[in-house]
Amino acid sequence: MRKTIDRTFVALTLTATVIILTIIAIIVGNIVVHGTDTLSLEFLTAAPKDGMMAGGIFPAIYGTVLLVLLMSLVAVPFGVLVAIYFAEYARAESRLYRWTRMAVNNLAGVPSIVFGLFGLGFFIQTIGHGIDQILYPGYLVYGQPSVLWAAMTMAVLTLPVVIITVEETLRAVPREYREASLALGATRLQTVFRVILPQAWSGVMTGAILAISRGAGEVAPVLFTGAAYFLPELPTRANEQFMHLGYHIYAMSTQSPDVEATKPILYSTVLVLLVLTFLLNITAILIRNRMRRWATR
């Protein structure tokens, strides 16, 4: 009797696991099956045509890449420095440490749409307008939605991802490395930048990749900070608007005049975004697993 109950319980938990894995398989499978029909080299390299009913998604890919590049330029160095503070300098009982830790935890939980509001209220309304008033009085140059402000907003959003990943790797670097470096007379700063950071390089890479994957997939923060439904030309300056893969999916599935007709294109766009984020995430997971094995060796 007891054995039966035990087996049933284990079977139940196994079923739940299988259900979750099946859900993943259904979502991914459905998108792959429907998405591969219209996927072609031309789809990836051409601009949309006929009111988004035909053509490709090159501007959206270009815009997304531009966004995540600008974002990483800010989020990665900044995140690495905060991670260095957490792992190398902070003492657990210091007030700065406790407050920073709380702030980063809190930042990770703020809804993405609130970041969108923050980007509009802070970067565009305050910083952008401020720059315009000083440098270009009477003109609207930086005080409007643009790829620059969208990237800054996204950088704030992805900061916790970078911090947490890099910190984990820094902590995995054996303590003996620090002691050896310090014993040889290096200062702490030299130890951090010449000994520990090179060892934790894979963690910095993982953090950057995870942040990029997040930045490519999030839509809510760029809704009001720079993403555009359609642009005839590619953005060449930081204060221009851009097209974004995720936003493109949202806009096409809600604002398209004929959803059935755009469905094949829509599916292929979703597939591109999915493949992009998957490749990024799998790379990150692989690097991290190798890193963990290295740390426990």
């Binding site: 139940l12 991914v28 407050w99 935890n105 809704l223 599935s253 984020t277």
Partner: protein, 331 residues
């Protein structure tokens, strides 16, 4: 202050000259410059860490700043109190615009509850299986697989529900509305499952092996050990997982925006369309008059969302800390 910074976390002072007190010392200008650079570096890094704190405050301040004028004057007939006054309707466009957010709050909690009802049993059971029963080789595969679900962008999940799942649900339950609280809730569950799974699995695995061995040695079965020993020991961590999942679900935007039908209704039925706080901001902010009353109300909703999720997250991390205290005696 400067001395305080100098104490390393290893417990001894790196450049403590007291260590060399017996040794005759030669002043070395080169190493003095080096030490100054070292000190500057530490100061700079700590300052950057401080900026992380500043950002959280900046987010609150600059979202609140756009909503603030409502507090001291009425804009377009809207005051700070109108979102909380009857009639209980959210109808921003129309002859007499109505801005009561009760239906939005109700909608948010309805969708979140549905999501939690689906996600909690699935994620917890899967976490139990992974941590307690799965063979180690299988565990290596299940965890990254669930992480894959976490990596699917929410707009893709929303798209899947909108195009595929909503129709399946409508056919299965012959529903009047294709997009409703149920479809949005299930979509939201997909986003919350990996979070609850990861945090609770971590909590379960952090329970010391000794607990399990003691229980098994006393004759308990594996399942009994899991339910009566491991689960209670990890309960604060599991509670934290649920709280964090709840926080994530409340703020999630793109899934509900695409899959909820976006009609603000006050109803207990899971089969009617709903509108959530986050989706309202996302769908309306693009079309409002800049600086107008409607614009400011949307930022006020942002402030409310920020406060709700901050409180929830703070609770979640507190419980996670309590788990560590209970198991290892440290914070």
């Amino acid at each position: 202050m400067r001395r305080k910074f100098r104490i390393s976390k290893f417990g001894f002072r790196i450049s403590d000259t007291a260590l060399l007190s017996g040794v005759p010392q030669i002043r070395n200008p080169k190493s003095e410059i080096r030490n100054r650079i070292d000190w500057l570096g530490e100061f700079f890094i700590s300052a950057v860490a401080f900026v992380a704190i500043a950002i959280i405050f900046l987010i609150f301040i600059y979202v609140a700043r756009e909503a603030a004028p409502l507090a001291w004057r009425t804009i377009d007939g809207i005051s700070i109190w109108s979102p909380f006054q009857p009639p209980y309707v959210w109808q921003p466009v129309g002859g007499v615009p109505k801005f009561n957010i009760l239906s939005l709050i109700a909608g948010t909690f309805k969708v979140t509850l549905i999501a939690m009802l689906f996600a909690t049993p699935l994620a917890l059971a899967a976490a139990l299986y992974t941590a307690e029963f799965a063979p180690p080789s299988l565990r290596e595969w299940i965890k990254p697989a669930v992480e894959v679900l976490a990596g699917i962008p929410s707009v893709v999940v929303g798209f899947f529900v909108l195009i595929v799942l909503a129709s399946w649900l409508q056919d299965a339950f012959s529903l009047q509305f294709r997009l409703n609280a149920l479809s949005a809730g299930i979509g939201l569950a997909f986003a919350v499952i990996p979070l609850i799974y990861t945090v609770s699995e971590e909590a379960l695995t952090s329970v010391p092996k000794l607990y399990r061995e003691a229980s098994l040695a006393l004759g308990a079965s594996k399942a009994q050990t899991a339910i009566r020993v491991v689960l209670p020991s990890a309960s604060p961590g599991i509670f934290a997982a649920l709280v964090l999942g709840f926080g994530r679900a409340i703020g999630e935007t793109m899934i509900v925006l695409l899959a909820s039908g976006n009609a603000a209704t006050l109803s207990l039925s899971p089969f009617v369309p709903v509108r959530t706080l986050s989706a309202t901001i996302a769908s309306e902010l693009g079309e409002v008059v800049f600086g107008g009353g409607h614009y400011r109300v949307l930022f006020l909703i942002g402030v409310i969302l920020f406060i709700i999720t901050s409180v929830i997250n703070w609770m979640g991390s507190r419980y996670n800390r309590r788990l560590r205290q209970r198991l290892f005696g440290t914070a």
